[in-house]
């Protein structure tokens, strides 16, 4: 067998394997979209879920998913940003730092159901938050922090050392160099990390079943008082998200159109995640161009 033949076999092999991956991915995506999209309608997006009749929607679930996402990011982003900056810029290479890194790796591979049960014991029971949005957001923060932290750390570490040298050589302090030069240069990467983790949060079910709960309370979208129990902004109310809704409809749902509802909800979930990803790219490129003044 000569080199040319061997090369051909290797190339064919690689292309075959890639095709398998692509076919599986497009198969899943296509299946979900084809079976779900036809059932998506304004009515589906804008009406309440029904508990035993056909024709219910996912208005509250969609809002809850987005609200939980925003709350989770508000809690986890500052922490992850601080931790990422510390690990990338300040941490010395010693046993303590490697301990932190190992812990983060272990945490990021923690099964989400374990995070959910932990959140149940700590936030729902111990802290007495009950099944609530805040319990869910805190559990999701635990779930999200490790990945977000290492994404941010990598984005910051990706900024060339020469940029830091340049800042320091101009008499800027370490912090000013990080804040004014390193962070803006790392921003597109940080943003990608945030949006990717947003996708993960958005699709998470297991961590929420025992924390944010599975029941939707009656929500009033005209009630802007976050302390009122019926307000859509109240963080102490139980909230079922899209992903949890899919799980519930398929396990204990008694609505006659369960298949249709779960197919449409799945499609909606996927579409929103795809939008996140596209949005992340567009925003990242836009910010990078703006920050580097490359536009004009």
């Amino acid at each position: 067998m000569n080199a040319k033949t061997r090369n051909k076999i290797a190339t064919t092999g690689i292309y075959t394997l890639v095709s398998i991956v692509v076919i599986i991915l497009f198969g899943i995506l296509g299946n979900i979209l084809v079976s779900g999209v036809p059932h998506l309608s304004w009515h589906f997006l804008s009406s309440e879920a029904s508990s035993y009749q056909a024709g219910g929607g996912v208005r509250d679930q969609l809002f809850n998913s987005l609200y939980l996402l925003v709350l989770t990011l508000i809690i986890s982003l500052p922490i992850a940003l601080g931790a990422g900056i510390y690990l990338a810029e300040y941490a010395k290479d010693n046993w303590f730092t490697s301990l932190i890194r190992t812990t983060i790796e272990i945490l990021s591979s923690l099964p989400s159901i374990v995070v959910g049960l932990f959140g149940y014991l700590l936030f729902v029971v111990q802290f007495g938050f009950g099944f609530s949005i805040i319990s869910g957001a805190l559990a999701l923060t635990f779930f999200n922090l490790p990945t977000l932290t290492s994404n941010i750390e990598q984005a910051i570490e990706g900024v060339p050392e020469a940029q830091r040298d340049a800042g320091l050589a101009l008499g800027l302090s370490n912090w000013k160099t990080i804040r004014g030069i390193v962070l803006p240069a790392a921003l597109p990467g940080i943003l990608t990390g945030i949006i990717l983790s947003a996708g993960r949060i958005f699709g998470e079910a297991a961590a929420l079943i025992y924390t944010a709960g599975q029941s939707g309370s009656t929500i009033d979208y005209s009630n802007w008082n976050p302390l009122s129990p019926t307000s859509f902004l109240n963080i102490m109310r139980p909230a079922e998200t899209l992903a949890v809704h899919i799980w519930k409809v398929n396990t204990e749902g008694i609505i006659p159109d369960a298949t249709i509802v779960s197919a449409a909800t799945s499609a909606l979930l996927i579409i929103v995640v795809i939008l996140f990803n596209l949005g992340a790219r567009a925003l990242g490129n836009h910010l990078y161009r703006k920050l580097t003044a490359a536009k004009s």
Binding site: P160, A162, Q163, D165, A166, G167, L168, A169, L170, G171, L172, S173, K176, G180, I181, P184, A185, Y288, L291, T292, A293, A294, S296
Partner: protein, 266 residues
């Protein structure tokens, strides 16, 4: 390790009044034990260009980075560095203030991923300068001083990354000039540039000599002989010879210096 005659063959000295910065027994250790520089004692004259030459690993860049404390994070530096009657190698020195007086230009051009204007104004703004007119004036002055004004005056708000390597390096010089340093340290500033850009850069440096003191690490012998007034030869962490550039290149006193100069000239 190769056996080195540690005693320098000749070290040029200046009157106290002519000196702007000098080192006394400067030694650098990496990781606590690995010594990269041995008792370097050099004096630098005001408003001259001094070239630091020597092979790879000879300690010339290490020495240069000591002068504005850029080694702080990576190495231990023993000895004294005198700048205006102040030992700047002491712990209580404000290194940020120091680096405003002793600027630095690096081997690879490293403009910020910002516009040309912002590259120059960023450090000034961070230090509290808000007057837009004054900022504009400094931008023009520094770009003129770095011989870049005519090339970029119409695209100050375009990305610095869109410029050529040579222009980027001159922007880095302009950026260093904008904070009005007395001394500019240059770490092989032309090594990443093509011959045309290199020659432009050298012209710029020669013009700057009337106002600034420059200390430049270079691998390029011709460059050292073309633009520097004094030359220090480093070998395996020791300064072996320091003299006028003319003497170093035409009449070196040490054998190793002579070998290095000859070898480099081919």
């Amino acid at each position: 390790m190769q056996n080195v005659n540690e005693a320098p063959t000749f070290i040029h000295q200046f009157n106290k009044d002519d000196q702007i910065i000098s080192t006394q027994d400067l030694s650098v250790f990496y990781g606590g034990t690995v010594q990269k520089l041995f008792n370097a004692s050099l004096q630098f004259k005001k408003k001259t260009i001094t070239a630091l030459i020597g092979g790879s690993g000879s300690g010339k860049s290490t020495f240069l980075r000591c002068l504005n404390r850029m080694n702080d994070k990576v190495a231990r530096v023993d000895g004294e560095i005198w700048y205006h009657d102040l030992d700047i190698n002491k712990n209580n020195i404000n290194v940020y203030q120091l680096r405003k007086n002793i600027g630095m230009v690096f081997q690879k051009p490293n403009p910020f991923p910002k516009s040309i204007r912002e590259n120059i104004t960023y450090a000034l703004k961070a230090n509290g300068e808000k007057n837009k007119q004054k900022l504009d004036q400094i931008v023009e002055e520094s770009l003129r001083a770095a011989a870049l004004w005519d090339e970029v005056k119409d695209k100050l708000d375009k990305s610095a990354l869109a410029m050529s390597g040579g222009q980027q390096q001159r922007l880095c010089i302009a950026r260093a000039l904008a904070i009005k340093p007395e001394i500019i340290l240059l770490d092989e500033p032309a090594s990443a540039l093509d011959p045309v850009s290199t020659s432009k850069l050298e012209d710029t440096l020669k013009q700057l000599r009337t106002d600034y003191t420059m200390i430049m690490v270079t691998h390029n012998m011709q460059q050292a002989s073309r633009i520097s007034d004094y030359t220090a030869f480093f070998h395996l962490g020791h300064v072996l010879e320091y003299d006028t550039t003319e003497n170093i290149f035409t009449n070196p006193k040490g054998e190793i210096t002579e070998d290095y100069i000859r070898g480099s000239f081919g």
